[in-house]
């Protein structure tokens, strides 16, 4: 397979993957799929996925059906407690709870994608209820039509507060939201003029926040004719959004972002690869769920251009590790630890969100990742597996990992996206099964996981 993306046939790229002799459906592909569409698979999920075959496996992650009432109730209760305590820091722990326990991990992954896209930081919007409301709004629209989420964001109090857009007066329109809307949320630089920004700002006049709620301030709304991207009329904010999304740059902009988020960090996808996805978006009312399903089931997705070609974000690392091992831990501490690795949920560094890719990696975060994993493994609040006294040793036994070699292979399959060099594997096997070592087996397994987390291969998703 050629590594050069410009040589890849776009038709082939976006056609649904079908198992073949060269690329059979396998645990490796299933694990990759879970890692990207969700946060990671545990052993049972891997085995189920393999048994189902790619079509059903993809369908299972993309359209798992409505969330169980019990899960929703627990999540709502935890959210309510967090908001009542007024503690924005704990909101991150609440979200991690959802990511860890949801039977619909793609929903949380997409919500995370939108949180980074429509970045809003609790540093400025210091109200848990508002940040929660925004998060729930993004979740509600996560698989929906992009136009709906943009319209909802344009009315979101947290967003408007963050962008200093709580007032927008007819006499002196506030350009802040209009600018970010066009540059970061829908079109990207170079696809509009400064005049367009001013006109879109006019369209949004009167869209304000009063007492933490969105209000449409009729008196302040400019009802004159605006000229946006070559179209004229008495446009309001919703009209402006419609016009922006009609521009061909919009579907390409979103398509490109989705490709980067789900398939590979680098290089930048060539236009030829982006086109079919962009067209799919614009021809189907910008329906995100539909396009994401196509992306996650495609030949390109299951190819070597994609597997292990993203740098694992801190959230994927933490949640992925726990999900793979069926573990749970103190989520407030986990949230803080992920923040130290550069991804503090509800606190993106600025309105551009998290850049991701290689920016997750520096000498301090590399050590930090291994340290966080080490802490997670040893923390008294960390539990594994299905029952209260389940241990790593018991899990290993259930997985048939009864020798050092099998233990290492079991762990590598669950936790690492790409093969590790033989010399490294040897080191891990020795660590797993030192006959002279008196430490208990669970501890030794934990040591192997700790060592794995320091490997360069572990940082890849």
């Amino acid at each position: 397979m050629t590594k050069d993306l410009s040589q890849v046939d776009p038709n082939w790229a976006w056609t649904a993957y079908e198992p073949s002799v060269d690329r059979p459906w396998s645990r490796r592909l299933a694990a990759h799929h879970y890692r990207r569409a969700g946060f990671a698979a545990n052993l049972a999920e891997l085995e189920q996925s393999v048994a189902r075959g790619p079509v059903d496996a993809v369908e299972q992650l993309c359209n798992p059906g409505p969330l169980p009432a019990q899960f929703q109730a627990t999540s709502a209760m935890l959210a309510q407690r967090t908001v009542a305590a007024g503690n924005v820091q704990q909101l991150a722990a609440w979200w991690l709870y959802r990511m860890l326990n949801t039977p619909d991990p793609l929903l949380e992954k997409l919500t995370l994608f939108w949180h980074g896209h429509f970045a809003t930081s609790a540093v400025k919007v210091d109200k848990a209820q508002m940040m929660l409301d925004q998060n729930e709004m993004l979740r509600q629209h996560a698989r929906g039509k992009f136009q709906d989420v943009v319209r909802a964001v344009s009315r979101d109090p947290a967003m408007l507060i963050y962008l200093d857009s709580t007032t927008n007066r007819r006499i002196h329109p506030n350009e802040n939201y209009a600018r970010e809307l066009m540059e970061l949320f829908t079109l990207g630089v170079g696809n509009y003029t400064e005049k367009d920004v001013k006109e879109v700002a006019r369209a949004f006049t009167g869209w304000e926040v009063l007492a933490d709620e969105f209000v449409f301030n009729n008196v302040q709304h400019d009802t004159g004719v605006k000229s946006i991207l070559g179209r004229s009329g008495n446009f309001d904010g919703d009209d402006a959004v419609r016009i922006l999304l009609d521009h061909p740059a919009a579907s390409r902009f979103i398509a490109r972002k989705l490709i980067r988020f789900f398939i590979f960090d680098e290089p930048t996808a060539p236009d030829s690869l982006v086109e079919p996805i962009a067209r799919d978006l614009s021809e189907h009312e910008f329906g995100i769920g539909r396009v994401v399903r196509r992306v996650l089931g495609s030949n390109l997705f299951f190819s070597d251009h994609a597997i292990g070609r993203k740098v694992r974000s801190p959230v994927e690392l933490g949640v992925g590790l726990l999900r793979a091992l069926g573990g749970t831990t103190n989520l407030v501490k986990l949230a803080q630890g992920l923040g130290e690795l550069g991804q503090s949920l509800f606190h993106p560094p600025n309105v551009k969100g998290w850049e991701g890719g290689r920016t997750w990696i520096n000498s301090s975060t590399l050590l930090g990742r291994a340290n966080l994993v080490g802490q997670l493994l040893l923390a008294p609040e960390t539990r594994y597996g299905t029952s209260a006294d389940d241990t790593l040793e018991a899990m290993a036994d259930r997985a048939g990992a009864t020798t050092p070699l099998k233990t290492v292979d079991w762990l590598l399959e669950l936790l690492v996206a790409v093969p590790v060099p033989p010399a490294a594997r040897e080191v891990l096997v020795k660590l797993a099964g030192d006959q002279n070592d008196n430490t208990d087996r669970s501890r030794r397994i934990a040591d192997v996981i700790h060592a794995v987390s320091a490997l360069p291969e572990f940082q890849l998703a």
Binding site: A119, S121, V123, K124, Y162, L163, D164, N176, R179, E180, D265, E266, G308, R309, V311, G339, E340, G342, P349, N350, V351, K352, G357, R358, T359, I361, N362, S363, S364, T365, L366, L367, G368, A370, N371, G374, Q375, L378, V418, V420, P421, P422, A423, A424, V427, L428, K430, L431, D434, D437, D447, H450, A451, A454, L455, P456, E457, Q459, L460
Partner: protein, 424 residues
């Protein structure tokens, strides 16, 4: 502690020469100077910024002890002339600044007086943003939610000059040694660079629970060769090896670190000692950023301010001395700043309220010593506040150009006369 007469004359002399050197440099000259200095010092120049949070009362720090406006405006807070550590016939240091006094005598302290910016903003949040972003006008690309800081932009430039995309290198370009909040200051946010924020040296340690077997296993597994054609893995692998190596160096250096310099037992001194250890360990960071909080002295200022100044002065003096003993004195420059000074007249609560211009301190083996600019007028006040004599961006420009070797105009967005803050 009074400087001897010849020292005083020297300091007066440097004031006038300093006034002359506040001229813009020609680009080749300062770049050459910066790199020559770096080569001489055996390493690249390092800047240590200490943010004094809350608004430091400059008038009680660098005190115009003889001026009757000072006496009349501060019947309770005014420091008696006899207690002031005199620098010249006009100003002197607060009595608790013994460390700074000694540094001044050694020619290792520079004082930029009257630093501020036009149309001062007296809001903590806004003014701190102005100082940290390095831009007075919050221009379109600088609104709070997408702002960058002057040091972040400087580090971006340095990375670009090295011909390496900032995210392609692994070296820690700068380091924020926080005192608690953990949030990276705006000053250090750049387009491409990622400056880590750490609370302690533990962040540079691979935590292995004391299990050397585990550590050795990790080391060995990371050292195994990888496919060099897989650029992404190779990048991460290089980064991991480099991280393990710096971690080892840092821990080793800290273990071996000997110093006869007795650092005071304060939070700032402890953090500065950590910085000294990191510099000695060879960590590649060009900028360290620390903060000292508590300067917002609206009430009962006397004791609190004295303690803070003692902490600042004692910590920095030990730091500079320690660096000098380890051979790094000439490549480290310390710079202090605060988001504003305080009003000339004391208030009714034995404190002072938000003001405007205030002094900045520079310390290090190559600093241009003495008073580097004029004291603000005590009579021509701006609604009760000191008017600036020096724009803070001139100081930044001087640090950028003469110390860090980076052209200031792109970083600051405008041309400012660079204050020459170091000896060539």
């Amino acid at each position: 502690m009074h400087p001897n007469p010849s020292r005083r004359a020297f300091l007066r002399g440097s004031l006038s020469s300093a006034a002359l050197v506040a001229l813009g440099p020609t680009v080749p000259q300062f770049l050459l100077a910066a790199s020559a200095r770096a080569a001489e010092a055996g390493g690249e120049s390092v800047l240590v910024v200490i943010q004094l949070s809350g608004g430091n009362d400059g008038l009680n720090t660098v005190i115009p002890y003889a001026h009757d406006v000072y006496r009349r405006s501060r019947p309770l807070l005014g420091i008696p002339a006899a207690k002031v550590r005199k620098i010249d016939d006009f100003v002197g240091l607060h009595p608790s600044m013994e460390g700074f006094s000694k540094l001044l005598e050694d020619g290792h302290l520079g004082i930029v007086q009257g630093v501020g910016y036009p149309k001062p903003n007296r809001s903590h949040f806004s003014s701190m943003d102005i100082w940290q972003s390095g831009r007075r006008q919050i221009a379109e690309e600088q609104v709070s939610y997408r702002a960058t800081g002057w040091l972040g932009r400087c580090l971006d430039t340095q990375a670009a000059n090295q011909g390496v995309a900032a995210h392609a290198g692994h070296d820690v370009p700068g380091l924020h040694l926080g005192s608690g909040s953990g949030r990276l200051p705006l000053a250090l946010i750049g387009q491409n660079v990622r400056v880590p924020s750490v609370q302690s040296l533990d962040a540079f340690k691979l935590e292995d629970g004391g299990d050397s077997r585990l550590r050795r296993a990790i080391q060995k597994a990371v050292e195994a060769p990888r496919d060099p054609n897989d650029e992404l893995t190779a990048f991460i692998c290089r980064g991991t090896r480099s991280a393990l190596e710096s971690s080892r160096q840092v821990q080793e250096a800290v273990r071996r670190y000997q110093t006869d310099v007795k650092y005071p037992d304060t939070g700032l001194a402890r953090r500065l000692k950590t910085v000294a250890q990191l510099i000695d360990a060879g960590l590649g960071a060009r900028v360290y950023y620390l903060d000292l909080d508590g300067f917002d002295t609206h009430a009962n200022q006397a004791a609190a301010h004295a303690e803070l100044l003692a902490e600042l002065s004692g910590g920095v003096a030990s730091f500079v001395n320690d660096l000098t003993r380890h051979g790094h004195g000439k490549r480290v420059l310390v710079m202090t700043f605060s988001e504003f000074g305080r009003r000339v007249r004391e208030n009714a609560s034995q404190g002072t309220d938000h003001g405007a211009a205030a002094p900045m301190f520079l310390a290090g083996g190559r600093v241009r010593p003495g008073l580097l600019s004029k004291h603000p007028s005590m009579t021509d006040l701006d609604e009760g506040d000191l008017r600036l004599t020096t724009d803070f961006r001139s100081v930044y420009a001087g640090v950028l150009e003469y110390w860090l070797g980076v052209p200031s105009e792109p970083v600051l967005g405008e041309k400012f006369n660079s204050l020459n803050v170091v000896l060539s």
